[in-house]
């Protein structure tokens, strides 16, 4: 119970002669739990989801007269095996994508079973995350604000110039913000829960297209809702890559923050500035 730790820690630190470390509470316990649980849940959803996709691909073309192949994902696998060194003798090029990004081809029944399990856990986990965001007040830090466009541009310029500044060993100042997240982070951390919500909504729309036909209609009908659901998966995949790279670039304090809940990179001057 890190919330308690900090309280106990405060009482320990009230001993007058001991110099304390200043820490800021960043993430509520429930937010941290749900954050990490998303890793296996999303992995399970994506692996089983692509196996489900295999049984009836959204992106198809007229069957190839020679091979009978009609699946664009199979085409990509064939292309990869033809062009990537070391894969020329891959036993089944059309299955390459499904062998590497899913549970495997021809696994619809086990994939559906795993997908339902992960989907229900994902919804529960989403509720836990919302509870943590409310309990810890963290939801306020995720809301978009009017200055976001300008601030996002500042961050964008910072990232664009950073490699050159590093190479030429010039100073390249990170833009200053007095908020928990900068505008780019806020956009990402706001979009991902939104994508989660839309994934659940489109998921129900294609899982129960008769009972929830009005929900499917919001997304343009059953077939369109499948396309939405597919591309929402890519939102998660495309978020995770820079998310992981940036957290490592940012350092141990940020990574540890999601485990222990607090950050030690808070300056005394900032605290007094906030209090004034």
């Amino acid at each position: 119970m890190p919330q308690l730790h900090v309280r106990e820690a405060i009482s320990a630190s009230t001993l007058p002669e001991r110099p304390g470390v200043l820490v800021a509470k960043r993430h509520h316990l429930l937010v941290r739990w749900s954050h990490w649980l998303n890793v296996p849940i999303l992995l399970g959803l994506i692996l089983s989801g692509i196996s489900i996709y295999w049984s009836s691909p959204i992106y198809q073309h007229k069957p190839d007269p020679l091979t009978g192949n009609f699946d664009v994902a199979a085409d990509i696998g064939i292309w990869i095996c033809a062009h990537v060194p070391g894969l020329h003798h891959y036993s089944s090029p059309p299955d390459w994508i499904y062998n590497h990004m899913s549970l495997g081809p021809g696994m619809l029944a086990p994939a559906l079973r795993l997908h339902w399990l992960c989907a229900y856990v994902f919804m529960l986990n989403g509720a836990v995350c919302v509870a943590g965001l409310i309990a810890g007040g963290g939801w306020r830090g995720l809301l978009p604000r009017r200055t976001d466009l300008r601030d996002a541009f500042k961050m964008f310029r910072y990232y664009i110039g950073l490699p050159l500044a590093k190479l030429t060993r010039r100073q390249w100042r990170h833009p200053d913000f007095n908020t928990k997240y900068n505008a780019l982070q806020r956009a990402a951390y706001f979009s991902v829960p939104l994508a989660g919500l839309l994934s659940v909504a489109t998921g129900w729309a294609i899982h129960k297209p008769m009972q929830f036909h009005s929900l499917a209609a919001i997304f343009g009908g059953f077939d369109a809702a499948r396309v939405w659901h597919f591309w929402l998966m890519w939102v998660f995949i495309l978020f995770v890559v820079p998310h992981v790279i940036l957290v490592f670039a940012d350092g141990w304090d940020t990574f540890r923050g999601m485990i222990v809940g607090w950050s030690a990179t808070v300056k005394r001057s900032e605290v007094t500035a906030n209090e004034q």
């Binding site: 106990e8 320990a12 800021a24 990490w36 086990p110 229900y120 297209p209 009972q211 808070v266």
Partner: protein, 279 residues
């Protein structure tokens, strides 16, 4: 910015505390170690839930199938079936479409398409009736003694594809009223004895249907497809059309209906799919 200007939606500064460095170090070490242990346990636990075929392909030779794993995964299927059953309402109808919205429907016989030779000698057997005797009906009596209803509805396959088709047939509910099932019956076992496997050998198809769904006004025993009598590809001369269920419940070339009290066996449920399949 003061608190008033910040308002309800404004971000508050993060709460800060002074902490004894030693206490901080101890807590950090404990939390990070717990996190690591939890991550390893989750990796092992979640990994073992993957299908055995996937694990074998990843190079794991050990059999990871256990009764606990089956219980958990089947539990998810059961919960999902219960959710589907709760969502079902006999009064909620599925959307209907216009003729211009009709899309092609492929012949999705799981195995080989049967030889149409069975059609002239076809009849439907009803068993488990309140009268206690079996009833045998041919297609002519089914089509003349019951009123025929038309509907253009979507058929949704478990694989994810769907097709909008124009159907006509008698209501299952009308058949149930004319030949009432025995009082304790809650299920219908729907059978097709003409079904074949991929190599063309007999592979009788059997499917469980709850009587609540059988009584839905859009559950038809279809005789016509796109204005024509059913062809062998679409289950001539009589197929089940139950648009509130997945396509695999829409049995082609039905030869027998048996009303039973206990949930009967189901072809696809025995192959790892769910039982209820309400959509």
């Amino acid at each position: 910015m003061n608190n008033k200007a910040r308002g309800f939606f404004g971000e508050l500064p993060l709460p800060t505390f002074d902490v004894d460095p030693q206490v901080l170090r101890r807590r950090t070490r404990r939390d990070v170690l717990l996190f690591g242990a939890g991550a390893m346990a989750t990796l092992a636990g979640a990994g073992s839930l993957l299908p055995q075929d996937t694990l074998t392909r990843l190079g794991l030779r050990r059999n990871m199938n256990s009764s606990g794993k089956e219980w958990l995964l089947n539990g998810a299927l059961r919960i999902d079936d219960d959710v589907a059953e709760t969502l079902y309402s006999p009064r909620r109808t599925v959307p209907t479409y216009t003729k211009s919205q009709i899309t092609p429907l492929k012949n999705n016989y799981n195995g080989a398409t049967p030889d149409p030779g069975y059609i002239p000698g076809w009849y439907l057997t009803l068993d488990g009736l309140a009268s206690g005797v079996s009833v045998v009906l041919d297609i002519r009596s089914l089509m003349t003694r019951f009123s025929i209803h038309e509907q253009i509805t979507r058929l949704v396959c478990v694989e994810g594809w769907s097709a909008i088709a124009w159907w006509a047939g008698l209501r299952f509910d009308d058949l149930l009223r004319t030949y009432p099932p025995m009082s304790q019956a809650k299920w219908a076992r729907v059978e097709s004895s003409v079904n074949l496997d991929a190599s063309g050998n007999p592979d009788p198809y059997f499917m469980s249907l709850d009587l609540a769904t059988a009584r839905h006004p859009q559950t038809l025993l279809a005789t016509h497809f796109n204005g024509q009598a059913l062809t062998v590809e679409h289950g001539a001369p009589l197929r089940l059309l139950v648009p509130v269920k997945l396509g695999l419940k829409n049995v082609k070339a039905i030869t027998k209906l048996t009303y039973v009290a206990q949930e009967p066996r189901d072809y696809w449920a025995e192959r790892g799919y769910s039982h209820y399949d309400g959509i």
